[in-house]
C-alpha cells in the first residue's frame, strides 16, 4: 500500500503541476496573441510609419479611403474627419485632417487609436505623419484641425477597392497626471 501511496503522490503532483502550467498558459495567451497579431499584421494595426521616399503614383487604380472618428465612451470631445471619403491613387501622398474640439471647461489630453478595415489592408497603408503619433491637448473650449499624411502602397492587393480608417479618441488626462507619457514610437502604434 505504501508503494501505491508513493505512486499516487507522484502522479498527483505531476497532474497538479500540469494544472498550474495550464493556468499560466491561459495568461501566456495574452502576450502570444499580441505577438501573433503584430507578426501577421492582423487586427488592423498600422506598423508602417515615418517618412517615405517619393514615388510615382499608379493612376490606373482609384482607392476609396473612408474616414471615421469615434469617441471612446468616456470622451466628451467633438471629433470627426473633415472629409468622409477621399479617392487616392496608390503611391500618391495625400493629406487630410480631423477636427477636434474640447467642449468642457478643463484642459484635456487625448490620444487617438487607429484601426484599418479590411485588416489585410493595414500593412499597405503607410502613414508619413499622423496626429495619432502624438498626444493632443486642448484647452477648455479650444478646437483644432489635426493633420494626417498617408500613402497607399502600390502593392495593395487588387481585390481591395475601399479602405476604412477609423480613429477612436481616448481621454488620457488622468493617466498623464501620473506621468506615463509614451515616447516610444513602436509602442504607440500598437497601443
Amino acid at each position: 500500500m505504501d508503494a501505491l501511496g508513493r505512486k499516487n503522490r507522484r502522479l498527483v503532483l505531476q497532474l497538479v503541476l500540469g494544472g498550474i502550467l495550464m493556468f499560466g498558459f491561459g495568461f501566456a495567451l495574452v502576450p502570444l496573441y499580441d505577438v501573433f497579431c503584430r507578426i501577421t499584421g492582423l487586427n488592423g494595426k498600422i506598423t508602417n510609419t515615418g517618412p517615405i521616399a517619393a514615388e510615382e503614383a499608379d493612376t490606373s487604380r482609384d482607392i476609396r479611403v473612408q474616414f471615421i472618428g469615434i469617441n471612446n465612451e468616456a470622451m466628451p470631445w467633438e471629433f470627426r474627419p473633415t472629409l468622409n471619403t477621399v479617392s487616392v491613387n496608390p503611391g500618391e501622398m495625400r493629406q487630410m485632417a480631423y477636427f477636434a474640439r474640447n467642449p468642457t471647461s478643463a484642459r484635456m489630453v487625448a490620444q487617438a487609436i487607429p484601426s484599418v478595415t479590411p485588416a489585410e489592408a493595414a500593412q499597405y497603408l503607410h502613414k508619413v505623419s499622423c496626429f495619432c503619433f502624438d498626444q493632443q491637448a486642448l484647452d477648455a473650449d479650444e478646437d483644432m484641425e489635426m493633420p494626417l499624411l498617408f500613402v497607399i502602397d502600390k502593392k495593395l492587393p487588387a481585390d481591395i477597392h475601399t479602405i476604412t480608417l477609423s480613429y477612436t479618441l481616448f481621454d488620457i488626462t488622468p493617466r498623464l497626471s501620473t506621468g506615463q507619457i509614451i515616447k516610444d514610437d513602436t509602442q504607440r502604434s500598437t497601443l
Binding site: L4, K7, V12, V16, G19, M22, G26, L29, V30, L42
Partner: protein
C-alpha cells in the same frame, strides 16, 4: 466469478455510517457517486425549470411573462447550470460509482479529496444561484460571458459568478486528478490498458482534457476579475486590451469543454450497445484511438466559434478544415456502434432505447455541426437558432440521453432492484418525442434568421416557436417519470441478479446486486 464470490464472503459488516454524517464525511466512492448523481439531478431540474420559463415566454411573440432583463438571466443561468451543474457532475458521479468497480479497485485513489471535490459543488452553485436575488440581478451575458458584456457592462453580482466558476474549476480538476490516479494506479493485476472498459478509457481522456482546460477557464475569469476590480485592461480596448482576445481564451477552454461533455457519453453508449446486441463491441482499439484523436483535435478548432469576428482567410480555412476533420474519428465511432449491432440479437430495454436514440440524434447534431463548420455558411447561421438547435441536439439527446441510459443501465446494480420497464419506456418515448418536437423546429427558425437569446421575435417565427414550446413542456414534464422511476427502483421492485442484463460483461456485473458498500478489497483475477 469464483474469485469474486470468495472475496465477498470475507466482507464483515463495514457498512456505511449512520445518519447525515455519512453523507458529509463519506470517503466511499459509491456514496460520493450517489451524491454527485443526486446533485446533478437536482441541477438538471433547476436548469430545466429555467428552460421552461424561456420556452413559455417564447410561446408567443411579444413580452408576456418576464422582462427582457430576467429573460437574459434565465438563458445565462440555464446554460451555466446545465453545463457545469447537470452534465459534468453526472458524468463525474457515474465515474465515481463505476470506475473503481470496472477496474477492480477497492475505492478511488484519493478518497478524501473525492469528498472535497463533491462538497465544493453545492457551495459553488448556491453562490451562483444566489446572484439571481441580488441587486442588479444575476449574470445576464450568456453562458459564454463574452467581455465586455461580462466586465464593463456586467451586473455587480458578476464577482460572485466568477468565484462560483473558480470553485467549480477546483472541483472538476480535483475530480479529474482522482480519476486519472485511480485508472493509472489502482487497476487490478491483469487489467491492462487495452482491456479497460471503454467508459473508463473515455473518462481517462476526458480527465486529461479537464486538467488541460479548466485552469484556462479559471485564468479567463481571473482576468475578468482583474479587469473589473483591479484596473487591468485584458479585454478593455480603452486600456489597450482586446475583447476578441476574450473569445480566443474562452473558446480555447470552451471547445475541449464540449468534448468533456460528450466523450464519457461515448463511453456509456459503448458499454450499453454490446450488452443489448449480445455481441462484443466492434473495433475496440479503433474506439480508443478515435477518442484520443477527438481529444487532441479539440485543441485546434476553437476559432470555429468565432468565424464572424474578422479572422483572416487563412485562419477561417484552417479552423474550417480542422473542424471537419473531427467528423472522421466521430464517424469511426458511429460506424463501430452500428457494426456492433449488425447481426446482433438485439433487445430493446430502456437503457438500449436511450443508447439507440443517442446514436441517431447525436449524429443529427453532428451533421448540423458540420454545416456550422463551413466558414462561409456560418456567417448566415452564426448566433441564430440553428446554433441553438445544433448544440441542444448534441447535448440533450447526446449527453443527457447517455446519462439517462447509464442511470437505467446501472440502476439495478446500485439498488438491487430491476427498474419498472413499462415506466422506463414511457419516459423514453415521451422524452424522445419531446426532444425532437422542441429542437427540430429550431433548425428552421435559425435558417429563417431568428437570432438566439432574445425574449421577443418577429411574427413569422410564431408557429415554430409555439411547437418548440409545446415540445419543451412534454420533455420537461416527462422527466418527472424519470425521478419517480428512480425512487421507486430504490424502494423496491423485482430483485436483480448479479449479471442484471443477459448480455452484460465486465467486472461490475460479477458483484452482487446491490453492490456491497466495499468491493474488491482483494483484487479480482482478470481472465
Amino acid at each position: 466469478m469464483d474469485t469474486t464470490l470468495s472475496v465477498d464472503s470475507t466482507e464483515h459488516g463495514h457498512g456505511p455510517a449512520k445518519g447525515l454524517g455519512r453523507w458529509f464525511f463519506t470517503t466511499n466512492h459509491k456514496d460520493i457517486g450517489t451524491l454527485y448523481l443526486w446533485f446533478s439531478l437536482l441541477m438538471f431540474l433547476t436548469g430545466g425549470c429555467m428552460a421552461l420559463m424561456i420556452r413559455a415566454e417564447l410561446f408567443q411573440p411579444g413580452l408576456q411573462l418576464v422582462q427582457p432583463e430576467f429573460f437574459n438571466q434565465m438563458t445565462t443561468m440555464h446554460g451555466l447550470i446545465m453545463v457545469f451543474g447537470a452534465v459534468m457532475p453526472a458524468f463525474v458521479g457515474l465515474a465515481n460509482w463505476m470506475i473503481p468497480i470496472m477496474v477492480g479497485a477497492p475505492d478511488m485513489a484519493l478518497p478524501r479529496m473525492n469528498n472535497w471535490s463533491f462538497w465544493i459543488l453545492p457551495f459553488a452553485f448556491s453562490l451562483m444561484l444566489s446572484t439571481l436575488f441580488m441587486e442588479g440581478g444575476g449574470p445576464n451575458f450568456g453562458w459564454t460571458f463574452y467581455a465586455p458584456l461580462s466586465t464593463t457592462y456586467a451586473p455587480p453580482s458578476v464577482t460572485f459568478f466568477i468565484f462560483a466558476v473558480h470553485m467549480m474549476g477546483f472541483s472538476s480538476i480535483m475530480g479529474a486528478i482522482n480519476i486519472i490516479a485511480t485508472i493509472l494506479n489502482m487497476r487490478a493485476p491483469g487489467m491492462t490498458m487495452m482491456k479497460l472498459p471503454l467508459f473508463v478509457w473515455t473518462w481517462l481522456i476526458t480527465a486529461f482534457l479537464l486538467i488541460a482546460v479548466m485552469p484556462v477557464l479559471a485564468g479567463v475569469v481571473t482576468m475578468m476579475l482583474m479587469d473589473i476590480h483591479f484596473g487591468t485592461s485584458f479585454f478593455n480596448a480603452a486600456g489597450g486590451g482586446d475583447p476578441v482576445l476574450f473569445q480566443h481564451v474562452f473558446w480555447f477552454f470552451g471547445h475541449p469543454e464540449v468534448y468533456i461533455m460528450i466523450l464519457p457519453a461515448f463511453g456509456i453508449v459503448s458499454e450499453i450497445i454490446p450488452t443489448f446486441a449480445r455481441k462484443k463491441l466492434f473495433g475496440y482499439a479503433s474506439m480508443v484511438y478515435a477518442t484520443s484523436s477527438i481529444a487532441l483535435l479539440s485543441f485546434l478548432v476553437w476559432a470555429h466559434h468565432m468565424f464572424t469576428v474578422g479572422l483572416p482567410l487563412a485562419g477561417e480555412l484552417f479552423f474550417m478544415y480542422a473542424t471537419m476533420l473531427i467528423a472522421v474519428p466521430t464517424g469511426v465511432k458511429v460506424f463501430n456502434w452500428v457494426a456492433t449491432m449488425f447481426h446482433g440479437s438485439m433487445t430493446f430495454e430502456t437503457p438500449m432505447l436511450f443508447a439507440l436514440a443517442f446514436v441517431v440524434l447525436f449524429t443529427i447534431g453532428g451533421f448540423s455541426g458540420l454545416m456550422l463548420a463551413i466558414a462561409p455558411a456560418d456567417f448566415q447561421y452564426h448566433d441564430t437558432y440553428f446554433v441553438v438547435a445544433h448544440f441542444h441536439y448534441v447535448l440533450v439527446p447526446g449527453a443527457i440521453f447517455s446519462i439517462m441510459a447509464g442511470a437505467y443501465y446501472w440502476l439495478p446494480k446500485w439498488t438491487g432492484h430491476m427498474l419498472n420497464e413499462r415506466l422506463g419506456k414511457a419516459h423514453f418515448w415521451l422524452s424522445f418525442i419531446g426532444v425532437n418536437v422542441t429542437f427540430f423546429p429550431m433548425h428552421f427558425l435559425g435558417l429563417a434568421g431568428m437570432p438566439r437569446r432574445i425574449p421577443d421575435y418577429a411574427l413569422q417565427f410564431a408557429d415554430f416557436n409555439a411547437v418548440a414550446s409545446v415540445g419543451a413542456f412534454i420533455f420537461g414534464l416527462s422527466q418527472l417519470l424519470f425521478v419517480y422511476n428512480i425512487i421507486s427502483c430504490i424502494r423496491g421492485g423485482e430483485r436483480a441478479t448479479d449479471q442484471v442484463w443477459e448480455g452484460s460483461h465486465g467486472l461490475e456485473w460479477t458483484l452482487p446486486s446491490p453492490a456491497p458498500y466495499h468491493t474488491f478489497t482483494q483484487p479480482p483475477v482478470i481472465k
